[in-house]
């Protein structure tokens, strides 16, 4: 066995509070050999990022390493001076993050930042460094690097920005790259391309990668070894194939079950949707433009039957959310018509539209951000009742309790503020508020995109049950085709403001008509074992 490049033993990390140190990471052991790709998998809050940051000795105060050893190429990180660390960071190990925009300086060109990174660890001249920067941009797949090098971060798309970050990270040929959820903020198709790039770079340069993610499917195709973390402890580790074939810890199994692959049996609604009284929601040739040139929604027509689930899939910026806003009457189309239960929304007065809102509700992407941080759960869920229904205080309290039951939240949370809840719990509160008025139509706008895979699976279960119990009609909006396929029998694929394909999910997957749909399907990560898809 070769000497490991990175060896973490018995690592303990705590957070300093007023009078004690509360443990966050308790005894993590991990080893990565040179050139190896290892995954660190776990839910948010499990301590995986903190572990990674400690390797760089960048864990933010008031967190501190309270025990254990971290060795990089047999050098002890704990005893290294800050000057040693500056030499190590970038040159020996580098890190990329989830949000490439906030990791880049917005007022400097990417070329400037790349050159700065290169010259921090080498003595080459500015001109040579710039040539190297151009080469690097080309290597990470930025088209036309000679001109793009003088562009600013905001002129790049999310995927391209992440490529720039990667170029910067590998600029001094580190032997270890720490990738902290590098694709979580990206579209599925972009994610697939970034992962390919990382594999290539790692193979060509013999660079080891510590890949942090909450998604087992992504890790499975990318890494040779897996380490599963939960509540600050390492619960399972080993060769990817061995662990996936026979997970020893129940949590690993949970993670595996939570992955929605193309082989998953789609959910079927208990009640068949009916078109007897005409569609519940209907859009005809809807157009909405922003400014002079951006046609966010460009002639879209669709119809959603009562009790059905309509899946809308597309990348960010494809116009999905704009379309959802139009269907909800939150925004008005320039031309075309939107009908809800037979009524043309554009003809309604502001008051009439507001009264109608009780029948159509929305759950948004950011679970915590869509709740007012200064209101308690009880106040948040009661608000729509107070606005639309005249009912006694006691009656309202009962209804709030009932709603919490429906979304399976314990009543103990009634007095809590959003920041005192987990992401999944917040999303349940959002759902409770949305169904408080017994709506007919619920728009789920990326409602499960910001939560961990395991939580996503639970929320999807909950949404399914609610539909069966309450007879809800869903518009399920997501960038994740596998999730849309799981939830919705009818799917529309949106691309650049247009619906390029629409129909039954089985048909779409069997023979996708549009090139973009094919890309989406190919990009869905599957749980893989030695390159073979594992059927589950």
């Amino acid at each position: 066995m070769t000497e490991p490049l990175l060896r973490i033993s018995e690592l303990r990390i705590g957070v300093r509070t007023a009078n004690a140190v509360r443990p966050l990471v308790e005894g993590v052991d991990l080893a990565i050999e040179p050139g190896q790709r290892a995954a660190l998998v776990g839910e948010s809050g499990s301590g995986k990022t903190l572990t990674a940051l400690s390797v760089m000795r960048l864990n933010p105060p008031p967190t501190l390493v309270t025990g254990g050893r971290i060795e990089l190429a047999s050098k002890d990180i704990a005893t290294a001076t800050e000057r040693d660390m500056v030499g190590l960071r970038g040159a020996e190990m580098a890190m990329i993050y989830q949000d490439p925009l906030s990791s880049l300086n917005p007022v400097r060109t990417v070329g400037h930042q790349l050159v700065e990174a290169i010259r921090a660890h080498t003595t080459i001249r500015a001109r040579a460094a710039k040539r190297r920067a151009v080469d690097l941009l080309g290597e990470v797949g930025v088209p036309d690097p000679v001109t793009r090098i003088d562009d600013y971060p905001h002129q790049f798309s999310g995927g391209m920005r992440q490529r720039v970050m990667i170029a910067m990270a590998v600029s001094c040929s580190p032997s270890l790259l720490i990738a902290d959820e590098p694709t979580t903020a990206l579209d599925v198709t972009t994610q697939a391309r970034i992962l390919d790039l990382l594999v290539d770079l790692s193979d060509q340069r013999g660079m080891a990668v510590l890949f942090i993610t909450h998604d087992l499917a992504i890790a499975s195709g990318f890494c040779e070894r897996i380490n599963v973390m939960r509540h600050g402890k390492l619960v399972e580790h080993g060769k990817m194939g061995t662990v996936l074939a026979a997970p020893a810890h129940p949590y690993t199994r949970t993670l595996l079950d939570a992955v929605i692959t193309l082989d998953a049996q789609p959910r079927t609604a208990a009640v068949e949707p009916s078109d007897a009284d005409g569609p519940l929601v209907e859009a005809r040739d809807v157009v909405r433009t922003f400014g002079r040139s951006v046609r966010a929604v460009d002639g879209v027509s669709l119809s959603i039957p009562r009790g059905g689930t309509f899946g809308l899939v597309g990348e960010s910026g494809s116009g999905k959310s704009t379309l959802a806003g139009l269907l909800l009457g939150l925004d008005r189309p320039e031309s075309g018509s939107v009908r809800f239960a037979g009524t043309e929304l554009a003809t309604l007065s502001r008051e009439a539209l507001r009264a109608r809102r009780r029948h159509m509700q929305v759950v948004l992407q950011d679970p915590i951000g869509s709740l007012n941080r200064r209101k308690t759960v009880a106040q948040i869920v009661a608000l729509p009742l107070a606005v639309h229904d005249r009912m006694s205080r006691a009656r309202r309290r009962d209804r709030v309790a009932e709603l919490l039951d429906l979304v399976r939240l314990p009543k103990a949370l009634l007095g809590r503020y959003p920041r005192e809840l987990s992401g999944g719990q917040c999303q349940r509160v959002n759902i409770a508020r949305a169904i408080a008025l017994k709506p007919d139509f619920l728009v789920l706008d990326e409602a499960v995109s910001a939560v961990d895979v395991v939580i996503q699976a639970q929320i999807l279960d909950l949404l399914g049950d609610l539909q069966d119990e309450l007879g809800l009609t869903y518009l399920f909006v997501s960038h994740d085709l596998a999730v849309v396929r799981y939830m919705a029998p009818t799917i529309a694929v949106m691309y650049r403001g247009r619906i390029v394909e629409q129909g039954d999910r089985a048909d779409i997957f069997r023979n996708p008509a549009h090139e973009y749909t094919r890309q989406l399907i190919d990009a869905i990560p599957a749980v893989e074992l030695d390159g073979e898809r594992v059927r589950r």
């Binding site: 939150l330 507001r354 007012n372 606005v387 799981y486």
Partner: protein, 294 residues
Amino acid sequence: MTASSPPVLLEEPPALPEDSGPGLLRRYLTRPPVIAALVVIGVLVIMAVIAPWVLHSPTALDVPDRFAPPSGAHPFGTDELGRDLLSRVAYAGRLSLGIAFGATVFAMVLGTVWGMAAAARGGWVDEVLMRIAEAGMAIPIILFALVFVAAFGADLVAMTLITGFLMSFLTARIARSAVLSELKSEYVHGLTAVGVPRMRILFGEVLPNTLPSLLAQSSLNLATSVMLEATLSFVGLGVQPPAASWGTMLQNGYSHLYESIWYPLMPALVIVLAIAALNTLGSELQVVLHRSAS
């Protein structure tokens, strides 16, 4: 994905963050600078309130003892007519602090409505309201006050409203940016979709969320208005004799600088202390709020 969830799936509520909710106030009130500032303000206010019962009359003359330095009988010394300076400072505090408080409340109400209207309506309403605020801030305060005092006189109510009005420009700008950033957040979008009326969102949800930053600003406003009142009174545009504020006392003391250094020093000291304490309260509140936000 299975319907039966193993127990390991259960989502546990995260531990309560130590710095949540009510802790904010406690953390603010236990900061040493805040305690010191509260003591200073407390002493000044209590002095102003209890002055009639425990101190000399501010108008009692003791001509032989004029321009006396601080002593047991007159802790702050006496003025040109032998009146007790401590007592006069305490009584003047009633005017100075009263005007400052009234002006701050007026500035808060006017500025918040002003800024909120601009943020909520947007478009040309926003443009017009904000250009007015900027124009107001661009004109020198003394010049502004001169015009107002000439127009409305310098009685107490006028003084309060003028001072408040002068401060409402900045408050409006701050209120506008606070409301704007709230309006951009996703929860406002969510509430609109729920069907909550716009006014209810603005006053029931957005306004309470902007209060902390507005409170920090109003504490700074209090400090500014103490200084504004002192400035205006010092140059003779403010409180008119025989009423006395800290500013008029400073003015009188200044003209007797060579008879008694204590006469101008004492009101000046009180003004400096009050402004420093109020500024501390405001900036410390901003520090605490900023920490809790990050």
